[in-house]
């Protein structure tokens, strides 16, 4: 792996770190933070700093250092997390993201002098009021500690903590000495290690007692077994490690040798070394109440986890060590997981699922191969069935397996949409800074997963829609209050799966679309004829027309009239649809309907004359064979069909695609009722339905060129190519053509349908 590749990984990790930090700060802002939230932000910034140093990005490193120092103060509780501070941190994060972009060569290095000064001021301003600002720290840490952490704030965290630890150890020397008197008598240089295996150390055939045996073989003797945390039988979870041990090791044994024993269980077994180190706490399953990171050993005896400390105190024999403030435990063990200590050092984060990074191109190859496998499987099934061997069990099994492989391969590419949504807060911050409109963001369904390609290409249209919503939709605070709404606008983002597609909604509670103005503007720009009669939906759709913008003046946010038509194009390119619902005075909702993946789709295979076509199942509502009396002619060229009392236009597919020898009379063929974006429902007339199956989509654009009314192509089981119908485009075009042939009939059709 060369330096460039490593650098690429660094930047990928930067993105993740920034996302994590953003989420953490968002939680802080919403007031839903816990102990780990600030720490997660800190970790994010810290890891960027580490990489920046390694790759020599001086500006980035310097900036992250300032940022990180303030964060560590917040984490330690020496600086209180107030709303202005969260806002400062959010701004700092935006600048950090610019810094990362600059390091990547994607922009100018931002001027951070003022911001750095602000960040520094936030630390310094609080340093003087340290003890007063943080009662917890004041209560448990004697003065020297405060000084230490004060001066240490310039330093890296580790150093800071070490110095604190030293001073605490000093402060505790009196009582600690008394307690350790006994062991100190016989072996002055012996040292103590406290061992707490957690659930993971007991899993997968791993056995903590075997490791303890090794400790004993090294010359260690068990001073005490802390069984105080073992609950009654009915509350016992055999998977949790409740026991903790204190071993006395002879001075001749190296600390590293003991650590080596527990090395391969890593995080799952905590060690605390030193006479004044407290026993790491029991790690209970997440569902149970975790003991609060109480600074003092006088924890309330109620929750089982909090029992550890007092029980240990009661059970303490002369040799045992009084439980020091948990703080020391956390700092004494330099292992990655330091347990739940005081001072806001949170419990170790839940171990993330193991993951590997692979190149996207490798994944795409796999997906491609799986696609071919699906086709090959279909071909084989078809060949066998033509030889009369269709219904063998093996084929069914193979079919199931192929589908499983395909789904798994797709799942590898699936990512939660949260990665797109997480950019939104920054966009909103920038918008509210430049427009003066305050917008509250509500997000739901951010864990909804969809294909990475879709996610990547979703960012741009989503950004446009959000800018549009804030710029055009949401009113200024004064206007809102005058309209009887709260001064703060609300933007709702949601994502959900619905029948194999993903539905993304962007809803604002603004003024809604001003249809009169939209129409006037469209007429002025010559987009529509002045005397045209348009329905509400048609007027709404005008905002997607190229060159359309109602903004009074062009701002840098929106108003150039390139946004919305690009949005629609982007969404269409993804095989999706966009619809608008708007209510004057109460807001506008844009709904994007997108496929979960671009590689595979469910389709209905139909025959039309000499052609085989695929109708995407996403569009299909139902299929039926109409009775002759359900079909009515309308004008000279149109046909309408009565579907349970509602008339919908019939689109003869053979006319649209130019197939020969197809059924012409609706009553002799099959009608597939489809839902379209622009034209409502329509019925496609086909000869017969052959099959319903998953088809692997091959892009027509890359292999041939884009064709109106055709979404792509697929290879059928018999090796022939079948076109996949772009239902929206095809129906809209066919109806428009029919309409031109039969203009006079249009109002009548609507009246009848209604």
């Amino acid at each position: 792996m060369n330096a460039e590749e490593i650098q690429a990984i660094f930047f990928a990790e930067c993105e993740e770190s920034l996302d994590a930090a953003e989420q953490g700060l968002a939680a802080c802002r919403a007031g839903t933070q816990d102990d780990d939230t600030v720490n997660a932000v800190f970790r994010g910034v810290h890891s960027i700093k580490g990489g920046a140093g390694a790759f020599g990005y001086i500006a980035l490193q310097g900036y992250t250092h300032t940022f990180e120092t303030l964060l560590s103060d917040v984490r330690d509780g020496t600086v209180e997390l107030t709303e202005p501070l969260v806002n400062l941190l959010l701004r700092a994060l935006d600048t950090l993201s610019d810094h990362v972009a600059a390091a990547r060569g994607l922009g100018e290095t931002p001027d951070d002098t003022a911001l750095q000064a602000e960040l520094t001021a936030a630390m310094a301003a609080n340093a003087g009021a340290l003890l007063a600002a943080s009662p917890a720290a004041a209560a448990q840490a004697p003065a020297p500690v405060a000084e230490d952490s004060d001066t240490g704030s310039d330093d890296d965290m580790g150093i800071d903590f070490d110095s604190m630890l030293d001073s605490i150890a000093g402060a505790m020397a009196g009582p600690a000495d008394e307690a350790v008197e006994d062991p100190a008598d016989d072996t002055a240089a012996a040292w103590l290690v406290k061992i707490r295996p957690h659930a993971g150390a007991m899993r997968n055939g791993s056995e903590p007692l075997l490791m303890l045996r090794e400790v004993i073989e090294l010359g260690g003797t068990c001073v005490e077994c802390d069984a105080g945390a073992v609950p009654h039988l009915d509350a016992l979870d055999p998977g949790v490690g409740y026991l903790g041990w204190t071993f006395r090791m002879p001075a001749s044994v190296d600390e590293g040798a003991v650590r080596d024993i527990f090395d391969f269980v890593g995080d799952d077994c905590e060690l605390a070394i030193g006479a004044d180190a407290a026993m790491p706490p029991v790690r209970l399953p997440v569902s149970e109440a975790f003991a609060p990171p109480a600074p003092a050993p006088i924890a309330p005896p109620a929750p089982p986890a909090a029992n550890v400390a007092p029980d240990m105190a009661q059970a303490s024999k002369p040799a045992s060590v009084p439980p020091a403030p948990a703080q020391t435990a956390a700092t004494a063990a330099p292992a990655p997981a330091t347990g739940s200590g005081a001072q806001g050092v949170p419990p170790a984060p839940p171990a993330p699922g193991q993951s590997i990074r692979i190149e996207l191109s490798k994944l795409d190859k796999l997906i491609d191969a799986v696609g071919e496998l699906v086709i090959a499987q279909a071909m084989m099934a078809q060949r066998l069935s033509s030889d009369g061997l269709a219904a063998t069990e093996e084929i069914a099994a193979l079919d199931g397996l192929t589908r499983d492989i395909q789904e798994s391969a797709m799942a590898i590419r699936a990512q939660p949409i949260g990665s797109v949504f997480s950019r939104v807060p920054r966009i909103l911050r920038e918008l509210s800074a430049s427009t003066g409109k305050h917008v509250r963001l509500e997000v739901s369904g951010e864990s909804t997963e969809l294909d990475k390609t879709v996610i990547e290409r979703l960012g741009e249209p989503l950004t446009h829609l959000i800018r549009n919503a804030v710029d055009h939709g949401i009113e200024t605070p004064a206007e809102r209050i005058a309209a009887g709404k709260s001064g703060e606008g609300t933007l709702m983002l949601s994502a959900e799966h619905r029948s194999g597609r993903i539905l993304i909604r962007i809803a604002d509670d603004g003024r809604g679309i001003d249809r009169d103005r939209v129409l006037a503007k469209a007429i002025e720009k010559g987009l529509v004829a002045p005397d045209v009669q348009l329905s509400k939906e048609e007027i709404d759709a005008l905002i997607f027309a190229p060159g359309f913008s109602t903004a009074q003046q062009v701002s840098n946010i929106s108003g150039r009239g390139v946004g919305m038509d690009v949005v629609r194009q982007n969404v269409k390119d993804l095989g999706g649809r966009i619809t608008i619902e708007s209510e004057a005075g109460t807001g506008t909702t844009f709904t994007l309907t997108l496929p979960l993946t671009l590689a595979i789709s469910d389709g209905m295979v139909v025959n039309v004359g000499d052609q085989t076509l695929v109708v995407p199942l996403a569009n299909v509502v139902e299929s039926l064979r109409p009775a002759p009396e359900d079909v009515k002619g309308l004008g000279s060229s149109r046909t309408m069909m009565n579907v349970r009392g509602k008339f919908i236009p019939v689109v003869p597919l053979h006319v649209a695609v130019g197939a020969f020898g197809a059924v012409d009379a609706p009553s002799e063929g099959v009608l597939i009722v489809v839902e379209t974006e622009g034209a409502g429902r329509a019925a496609l007339l086909v000869d017969s339905i052959v099959d319903q199956r998953q088809v692997v989509i091959k892009s027509l654009d890359t292999h041939y060129r884009s064709v109106e009314g055709v979404a792509g192509a697929t290879i059928l089981g018999d090796g022939r190519v079948a076109l996949i119908i772009d239902v929206d485009g095809l129906v809209a075009r066919s109806l428009a053509e029919q309409g031109q042939l039969d203009m006079a009939a249009a109002p009548a059709a609507e009246a009848e349908a209604a």
């Binding site: 295996p197 007991m202 899993r203 056995e207 068990c222 005490e224 039988l233 016992l236």
Partner: protein, 86 residues
């Protein structure tokens, strides 16, 4: 008085299997846990035994030399075997 016998190999799986039995037995009064056949024991079972000692009326554990030895090595012997009804 009910008696529950420990298997020779008291690993985590054994502890998990034994736990419901112990819970049921302790609800019915005094309990003796016969550990005289035990040759191997892990942390999970030790935890179950320690818990059984402090649940209900407190189980009485009779131990094999191997069990007693293992408990002594890890400082649990007094917790498990001291007194009859601790």
């Amino acid at each position: 008085m009910s008696t529950i016998t420990l298997p020779s190999r008291c690993d985590r799986a054994a502890a998990e299997a034994l736990l419901p039995e112990l819970v049921a037995a302790l609800g019915n009064g005094p309990l003796v846990i016969d550990g005289t056949a035990c040759t191997h024991i892990g942390q999970a079972m030790f935890q179950v035994l320690a818990s059984a000692r402090r649940s209900g009326e407190g189980a009485v554990i009779s131990a094999s030399p191997a069990l007693r030895d293992a408990a002594r090595q890890i400082g649990l012997d007094s917790d498990l075997f001291d007194g009859a009804d601790a």
